[in-house]
Structures are given as C-alpha cells and as structure tokens.
C-alpha cells in the first residue's frame, strides 16, 4: 500500500468513530431499565395495572397526555374511558401522580435513560415529595 501511514491512521480513526459505541461499552454489562412501582398507592392496588397496558403506556404515554391536554383545556372533556371500560380523570396531578408519586424513580429514571426532556415538568410539577424543578 502506498501512503500507508496516512491511510492507516485514517482507517484507525474511521474504525474508532464507526465502532465507537462498541469500544466505549466494552466490558460493561447493559443494565436493564428498572422502573420502581413501589409507591403507597400502587402497593395498595389489588390489580397493579395502569389505565392502559404497560407496553402501550411506555411507548405512548406522551401522545396520550398530549391528547388529554387538548381535550381538557380546549374541549372541557375530563373523563377518559380506557380500553377496558374504566373511567379516569384526564389529569396528571389528579390521576397519574396519584399512583406514580415517585417521580425520580419512575419518570425521571426512564427519561434520563432514554434522554428525553419533556417540558411538561415546567408546569406540572410532579408529586408532593418530588420537589420542584427550578
């Protein structure tokens, strides 16, 4: 190979960049995401289920909340009938946070893990124990 020094340096940089995630994670164990459901309200529940299936909620809670927001604020609709027929108030404070009162161990841990930073918290301050986001 000609100009091998330069080409090899370039290729090494390429490999380092292209396989960077592998290098940085080498030897580390991927920690599965742990979400805490250990709150007083949840502990008291007979059937530990959210308003929709957990899989659905994990993937779609933000879309649902977005829809709720328009329904509540703009339409004045406040009651959500879930797919199981159960009725819930469409409210973070008066519904979601009642069970998920552990913002930092539930909401935040997943948000941090997947690096999403929703602006909901700017107003909806979470639970009593969670403290305020400045």
């Amino acid at each position: 190979m000609y100009n091998s020094r330069k080409i090899i340096i370039g290729l090494v940089i390429f490999v380092l960049v292209a396989a960077f995630p592998f290098f940085i994670n080498v030897g580390k164990t991927a920690q599965p995401l742990q979400l805490s459901l250990n709150t007083p309200t949840i502990n008291q529940l007979e059937k530990k289920e959210c308003i929709e299936s957990a899989d659905y909620m994990r993937a779609n809670h933000m879309r649902m909340l977005n829809e709720w927001r328009d329904q509540v604020v703009r339409e004045g609709n406040t009651v959500y009938t879930s797919s199981s027929g159960q009725k819930y108030e469409m409210s973070l404070e008066n519904n979601c946070f009642q069970c998920h009162s552990n913002k930092s161990n539930f909401c935040d841990s997943c948000h941090t893990y997947s690096q999403v930073d929703p602006y909901c918290w700017d107003c909806h301050n979470g639970t009593k124990g969670a403290g305020l986001k400045q």
Partner: protein, 261 residues
C-alpha cells in the same frame, strides 16, 4: 422524467406509504373515548355579580384573592412590574375611572372593588391572539391554553381591563404554599382568571365564589331563572368600561340591599 411520470412516482410513494401505515396500524391502540364529566356544571353564559357591600373591608377581598391565588399557584411577586394576579383590589376611581366625578361620595371613593378578568362576550384578547392560545369556551368563559401561548403579550395590549399578567420571571420560587393538585405556569406565558373551569368541570363553583361568603354570585347569565339574573333584576349593577363594547360578564352591585350609587 416528464411531469406525468413524476406524479406517478409521488402517487405510488403515497399509496405505498398508506399500505405500510395500514399494515402497521393494528400495532396502535384504538382511540379511547373522552367525555365530559357528568357532574360538570353547564351553562350558556357564565357570569358573576359581585356585591360590593360584602367587601367592605380590604381583608374581604384579600381573603378571596388569597384563596384563588393559593388554589391556582399564582405567585406572589412583590415587584409591581412583574406581579401576577388573577383577582385583586382596586378603588373606584381606578377601577371605574371613566365614571369619575368630582362630587362622588366619599364612601364610594373609598370603596374596594375586587377586579378580575371580565370574561367578555366580545373578548379583545381572543380576537388578537395569533395562536388561539386564549379562546372563549361555549359557556362564555375566556380561558388560556398555556401550552400554546407564545408570550407575545398582544392580548395584554388588547385587554382594556388590565386583567392579564405575564410571567416575566420564573413564578415557581414565588409560590408560597404549592397546591400540588394544580399545575404552575411556565415562564414567558400570559395568565389570568379562568373562572375555575377545572372546578366547573367537576361540578364545583369557582373558589372565589365559595370563599366570598355570598359576595360573589355565580351563574348562567343566559338563564332568566339563575341567581345572577335574579340579582341583576333587583339591583342596579355596573360593568367596567362597558362603553368599549366588550360585554363584560362581571357585574358589580354597589350597595347591596342599600340604594345603588
């Protein structure tokens, strides 16, 4: 490629996209139903009559204001330039400047008026808002969608009542006792009295009405049998800057049982 071929490609891509979307659609949960609370208070035109006789002392207004502000997490900002208020006290000559007269009785001059958003029939703030962030509900209440407000403050320029406040600074550090059942507002949005729509939705009257000890009468202005209409029938009531044609829904009854001014 001529234009026709190009359109074909676009169409094909579109059809392909729809097929893919349809194929994947079962993966989404069916849209759930969302309805009004069956207990919700309903009206065609919510309005208030404020009986000034019930607000003889400044503390009377303060009590109502505190209840409202605490309930709604309205910050207590001392700097008048940045203060946020939903309901507060004004004297006659400022609240009703256009009715000012040299020979006004001392009593009226020193009277305290709770002022708040008038939930106008023709709200200027709604007319000027460029994003429909503030809008009038079918029941006549003018509300804010804080999520949509861009903070242009055109509504504040438009409102002739000074009823609107802007979050010039972060409100949270200025909230004394946080009501965790109610959200706060973000910096940079306009806010104002909402006539407690969240309470009406659940079948409750506004908080100010509840703590006013009868000083604020609340009801459907459209309903001739409603309490507000009864009061208005039997009392002379004034509205702020009615000449501007905004149609305020907040009426002031001066003197209560006594003869009006």
């Amino acid at each position: 490629m001529n234009r026709r071929d190009f359109l074909k490609v676009i169409a094909a891509a579109g059809i392909g996209g729809i097929v893919v979307m349809e194929g994947l659609d079962d993966f989404r949960v069916e849209a759930a139903e969302m309805n009004k609370d069956s207990n919700a208070l309903q009206a065609k035109h919510w309005g208030m009559v404020i009986d000034i006789s019930k607000f003889q002392k400044p503390e009377d207004i303060q009590r109502v204001a505190n209840a409202c502000h605490q309930y709604h997490n309205v910050p207590d900002i001392k700097d008048p330039k940045h203060e946020v208020k939903w309901i507060w006290k004004e004297d006659f000559e400022h609240a009703f400047a256009e009715m000012e007269s040299k020979y006004l009785s001392e009593k009226i001059k020193t009277m305290n008026f709770p002022v708040l958003c008038n939930h106008c029939e023709e709200p200027m703030c709604v007319r000027v808002c460029p994003t429909k962030a503030t809008f009038k509900r079918p029941d006549g209440i003018v509300v804010m969608d804080y999520h949509r407000c861009i903070g242009c403050r055109y509504c504040m320029a438009g409102c002739p009542y000074g009823a609107r406040s802007f979050n010039f600074i972060d409100p949270r550090p200025h909230i004394g006792m946080m009501n965790h059942d109610y959200p706060t507002r973000a910096i940079g949005v306009v806010e104002k009295c909402t006539m407690c729509v969240e309470r009406l939705n659940k079948g409750l009257k506004p908080i100010c009405v509840e703590v006013s000890r009868g000083g604020i009468i609340f009801g459907d202005l459209n309903d001739p049998n409603s309490e507000v209409r009864k009061v208005l029938r039997s009392n002379f009531a004034i509205r702020r800057k009615a000449e501007l044609g905004t149609g305020p829904s907040v009426y002031y009854v001066i003197g209560g049982d006594e003869e009006g001014a």
